[in-house]
Symmetry: C2
Subunit: 447 residues, 2 copies
């Protein structure tokens, strides 16, 4: 590998007294007569550039987001100018020469502040600009670390990472919320989840993990749903219910923990605590959770068929208070509320061997033990009004020897949102897709 | 984590004399009167189960792909029965009890041989069965390792791993080969590549890597194209042409090398050599490559606007012979043959700052330095008959300060195919998509 002479912002800490060559973006400029400053951002961080004497007026020529090349000498800052909030806060670069590589147009809003106080539509309309902000870009560093944590944990479980298609012949979960694709004149759908494929792979690899896109054409706008999202999936063969619960709690907590440990500075900047993870995550059947909610809030949800958003918040508060846990596992949801491949609870077939993992007030993971009998599965598909012929390859796997198995999946954006306490899931997606927008809003595009 | 008492096949090597509990699939059975054998497969490998005396007839009840639980005692094999080809070839398990967990239907073809000699349509029609075969499943272990190698190498380059959408408003590369999606009544496409998004992210992360799906509605059936494929992408800011070439050769060779080193046994089973990677990968301009092809084969392709499949093979033969290299980098393709965002060669604008990396006779990676000027880019989009309004967010990135940059992308299935010398790219995809099939062939489905 050839290494060019360029230095990164954070390298300057170790280059005091040396000449440096930096390249990056102008973040903000400040001029005070004979001395002027600007903050230069590159992929390693931010560094202050200081211009003295006749060079000071040159800084006034720069504007936010200009791409510049800077030559100068790294110097220790005066004690009184040290910035403890910056990784390079003890150093600055005394400008010798600057060169604009790419001139930016005038900013449509202030990009120089610590916060980017924009309404969501503006935040998304100018996505290629707003993503650069030092409060926004780190969201996706956390996201990267979540995926790393997931891969590490699922690998520890013995999973093979696989790659499955997104264009499918059948709709995974039934229902009308599917996007249709014109596939060489044939009908096809975008998958609602990679569920069927990961199950087919049980007799191949026994344990698989995958990172897939998932598509839901939900005709509604909420703060926690996207039309296209990234799903982190595990499916595990030869596992019974208890071991599945152990596994999902292992992967769920390790994933979040890995991300939190990788970037304590980002958590701090977002004002969020590192996750509370006890040795044993509290586990409740849905009916038990509803009882507890009734006891602590007097809200009677004991006959509801599912937990609502309010319920999820309340039971998470309880878990934090009683078990010092930011996580709580809820099991045994009513069978009718879960996908067709969900295994009924043998002790009470109205309920199911299903589970959700809640984190800080919201479900981040969902899954179940699966039906693993060919005849039963074919029957269920018919009962739910679907056609077994649309599930031919899936059913084939069950016909030729399939082990007991189960699995779970995370929503990547959902996890990112909750870990950083963002108010809308769109903030946790680089380029969010919803019914109102593909990059630009439809109303704007179709003018 | 709770660990159940189950043992894996390969653990038996260390459990001689001990009682073991195994779970897995029956691969093949052999009975010889008072002694019978079967091979049991689990995620760790294969182990021989031996049944003596009154247990021997029980083995005859088993058939291929039955899922069984086996209790027995691990024993060292007699010297003369040692199988050097098997990781557990020195050990066997003396059966005490067997239990069928899931009975398989009768096999439509022989699954017990070392090779699975099936025509491609059958291989794919019974994908959930054929993937289990011990010659087939390892293809996807190689694939997993290729992705691992790519992630490792791109991380070493300082890339942030990002996740970008597949539903888009504009067609990345122009042309008619796009799949249309009905997006809440609006027109939308499946991306031909994540190209536009990775460029938009240059001013955010400077260097990014991503693993994306890519869709091409090519109305043709070839041995090296899929309608849906996995693409491994890098995009690198502040890099000029030479450094881009260094980077792509670094990532390309490290990726392949990582996979080859991770699974020498699989390469051996496929009868392929480990890749020849010299210190310096040979680099040729396309015109130089054409000259060499003319010299060594007398085939005159010196006026062609691109390299054909035959040319790629010939120049790879040359690279292996002259440079002991399985890789060769070809640069400077005609500008008109490359995507709109390709940077022209300043010295000869009919050509471009583009490159392909060839591996063993086929292109596995393609890329270029990019146009990085807002006005020029808008112009080119118009010149190519596309509408700049369809590229609004992309162009926005260029308007507000973008660095010089370039990048490249690999086809995951293409790499897998070439590394194992498979004859058809469909063999390198778990569930391949082409114009004739989504899992089942259309002709079969629409009966």
């Amino acid at each position: 590998m050839v290494h060019v002479a360029r230095n990164l912002a954070k390298d300057c800490n170790d280059l005091i007294g040396k000449e440096v060559l930096l390249r990056g973006w102008v973040e903000r400029t400040r001029t005070h007569g004979k001395v002027a400053f600007f903050d230069l951002r590159d992929r390693s961080g931010i560094i202050q550039i200081t211009a003295h004497g006749e060079l000071a007026p040159k800084v006034a020529e720069l504007s936010s987001q200009d791409v510049v090349e800077v030559k100068g000498v790294a110097r220790a800052r005066d004690e009184k100018y040290i910035n403890p909030e910056l990784e390079t806060g003890k150093v600055e670069v005394h400008l010798e020469r600057q060169n604009v590589i790419s001139k930016a147009a005038e900013m449509p809003f202030d990009m120089g502040g610590k916060e980017l106080n924009l309404e969501l539509p503006t935040l998304l309309d100018f996505r290629s600009l707003t993503l650069r902000h030092s409060k926004i870009a780190p969201i996706f560093k956390i996201q990267e670390a979540i995926v790393e944590g997931f891969r590490k944990a699922s690998k520890e479980l013995g999973c093979t990472e696989v790659f499955t298609p997104t264009i499918s012949y059948s709709s995974t979960e039934g229902g009308a919320d599917v996007f249709r694709v014109d596939y060489y004149g044939h009908k096809a759908f975008l998958i609602q989840s990679p569920q069927l494929y990961k199950q087919i792979l049980m007799p191949v690899f026994e344990r698989v993990s995958l990172i897939s896109h998932a598509y839901r054409a939900e005709p509604s706008v909420t703060t926690r749903h996207l039309s296209e999202s990234i799903q982190l999936d595990c499916e595990l063969g030869f596992m019974e219910f208890e071991e599945l619960l152990d596994s999902l709690e292992f992967v769920g907590t390790e994933t979040i923990n890995h991300a939190a440990k990788a970037h304590p500075d980002i958590l701090k900047n977002y004002g969020v605590e590192k996750p509370a993870i006890p040795k044993k995550i509290p586990r409740l059947k849905m009916r038990e959770a509803q009882e507890i909610i009734f006891e602590i809030t007097n809200r009677d949800v004991r006959n509801e068929l599912d937990l609502g958003p309010e319920d999820e918040k309340d039971i998470c508060k309880w878990a934090l208070k009683e078990h010092n846990s930011d996580f709580v596992t809820i099991t045994h949801f009513p069978l009718a509320k879960r996908a067709f491949y969900t295994h009924p609870d043998p002790d009470n077939p109205e309920f199911s061997l299903s589970y959700d993992l809640l984190f800080r007030g919201v479900e981040i993971l969902s899954g179940s033990k699966r039906v693993d009998n060919y005849e039963k599965l074919s029957e269920i598909i018919k009962e739910r009004g679907m056609n077994p012929a649309d599930f031919e390859m899936y059913l084939q796997a069950f016909k030729y020897g399939i082990p007991p198995h189960g699995g779970f999946s995370f929503g990547l954006e959902r996890m990112t949102m909750k870990l950083l306490n963002l108010s809308n899931i769109r903030e946790a997606s680089l380029f969010p897709r919803d019914m109102e927008r593909i990059d630009q809003r439809f109303s704007v595009k179709e003018k």
